[in-house]
Amino acid sequence: MTELPAPVAAFEQARRRILRRRRLDALLGLLVFSALLAISAQRSQFFGADIGGDPLGRIGVFLGRMVPDLQAHALLEGRKTHGSLAWWYYDLPLWLRSLRQTIEMAVLATVAGAALAALAGFACARNLMPIPAVRFVVRRALEFIRTLPDLIVALLLVAAFGVGPLAGVITLTLSTVGGLGKLFAEANESVDGRPLEALEASGAGLAKKIRYGVLPQVLPGYASYALLRLEGNVAAAAALGIVGAGGIGIELQRAITYTEFDTYLAILLLIVGMIFVIDIGSELIRHRLIGLGGKR
């Protein structure tokens, strides 16, 4: 074998070293990953779980029970006729009311949460709040709120405020403050500083600086974030009812408890449809707000 020139040999050596290290890294990563996977599978009893016979069969049986027994010839008959659409959606007025309440919960919580988040966002923006201690406390508080899962908070609030929408609205308001507060603060910090300087030079106080220097720049962004949050809050409000915090989720939970699986499917379809419509509407508004109107 011919001797390689010195630079080529050095290159080959370095390359081999890098490859070896990469392979070692990959191997180590794979080991950790497989160990975690094995422990997870064991801890969650995923594969050993006694779920009564074959899982696919169980899914099949369950899906079968969810599909309503609709009859083609009776589809448009009244509520009393077995197999009609009205028979499947027998409690539609109540469900529509619950859906309306779910949306109302989301709207109230989004408005209240956005208002509080705006205050919090000013209180922890580096360019607006001069006292570092306040910024620190507000930031940590927002972080803590974001860590707590909605439904745990809802459980606690249902215990305090009783079963009903109030607990749900407070839960969603809290989580909205946590989420939007951070986004609003980031929007505040990324504003163009020149209008602020001009206002300060002409002797404006903090309130005037916010009103004329910050708000005109951040308001479209705020509105777009809040609408995005509204979409999330509608979906969350629908789920909150499962722990008794008001809205359509209560009906969902009731249907499961009474093993009315076809009713469960009916309500689930209503929820999915509502969220789909709201998402599309809010997307249209958001694209107009941030100037994408003509593009889609």
Binding site: L37, I39, S40, A41, Q42, R43, S44, Q45, F46, A49, I51, G52, P55, I59, F62, R100, Q101, E104, M105, V107, L108, V111, F144, T147, L148, P149, D150, L151, I152, L155, L156, L157, A159, A160, F161, G162, G164, P165, L166, A167, V169, V234, A235, A236, A238, A239, I242, V243, G246, L252, I256, F261, Y264, L268, I271, V272, M274, I275, F276, D279
Partner: protein, 272 residues
């Protein structure tokens, strides 16, 4: 000063002094918005009185939370936290496995048929609203109590979002590497492995880690509907008003979330 002001008024009359009609319109909009918010609150039977009464109770609950107590069985809580992580991890892995082929199909650059692409992109939107909890409710009803339903719920709830992110990562990858391989006559698997994979793998891995973090939060509540983990322990203790144990669990849980987020952030910053 008045000359400058007058000039400004002439240039932009509505900016300096809004007309009365503008102000009236704005006032009406504000009043209508407030009135509709009030109507909503009334429809939900939200009153200051209920708020105050519940608030008093809540303060009592919060007072009962200190000092936290482990309820003489801390290992049980640690085990439940472990089970919650196990559910989150397994659910994320299953979701990633299912989302990978879907992401490839959904990427415009891989599959160019527009109908297929549209169907793929819009179908997940339909399911976006169904949260993990709703799936868990369904699967617990189908498979009985236990973490099995929880893992499935997390996995299925994640697939639409993850597939969309994967598809976007693949679409944003640089075409040139794939083209070069194609020009050299490489078969499709080789093109994927050496043209696409090195570009998208770090991005996809870090997005999957984000989902793992989120799933640890989601998994914590699945116990409420009977899908195992820490949520079950928490609900039980809230139901019997054992608030000192509730605060113990919450503190431990928040620490675990912080630890997982830190580790995952470390890995993500190394991937980038």
């Amino acid at each position: 000063m008045s000359t400058a002001l007058n000039k400004a008024r002439q240039l932009a009359p509505r900016a300096i002094a809004p007309s009365w009609t503008d102000r009236a319109v704005r006032g009406v909009v504000v009043v209508a918005a407030l009135a509709s918010l009030y109507a909503m609150a009334a429809d939900l039977e939200i009153s200051l009185e209920a708020f105050g009464k519940g608030g008093e109770k809540l303060i009592r609950f919060l007072g009962a939370m200190v000092p936290p107590s482990d309820g003489h069985d801390p290992m049980r809580i640690v085990r439940a936290l472990g089970e919650t992580f196990a559910m989150a991890f397994l659910g994320t892995v299953l979701a990633a496995l299912a989302a990978l082929p879907l992401g490839l199909i959904g990427a415009k650059t891989v599959v160019s048929d527009p109908t297929l692409h549209f169907a793929f992109r819009r179908t997940p939107d339909l399911f976006r609203g169904a949260r993990a909890l709703v799936w868990a409710l369904t699967f617990v009803a189908a498979f009985g109590l236990g973490p099995f339903g929880g893992v499935l719920a997390l996995a299925i709830a994640d697939v639409p979002g993850l597939a969309k992110l994967y598809a976007e990562a693949i679409e944003n990858a640089d075409e040139k590497a794939v083209e070069g391989l194609r020009a050299a006559g490489a078969p499709a698997p080789v093109m994927l492995r050496y043209g696409l994979f090195p570009q998208v793998a770090p991005l996809m891995a870090s997005q999957t880690l984000f989902y793992l973090e989120a799933n640890f939060r989601h998994a914590a509540v699945l116990g409420i509907v009977g899908a195992g983990g820490i949520g079950f322990e928490l609900e039980e203790r809230i139901r019997i008003f054992a608030f000192s144990q509730v605060s113990f669990i919450v503190i431990l849980y928040v620490l675990c979330v912080a630890a997982l987020d830190t580790v995952s952030q470390q890995i993500r910053s190394r991937l980038a």
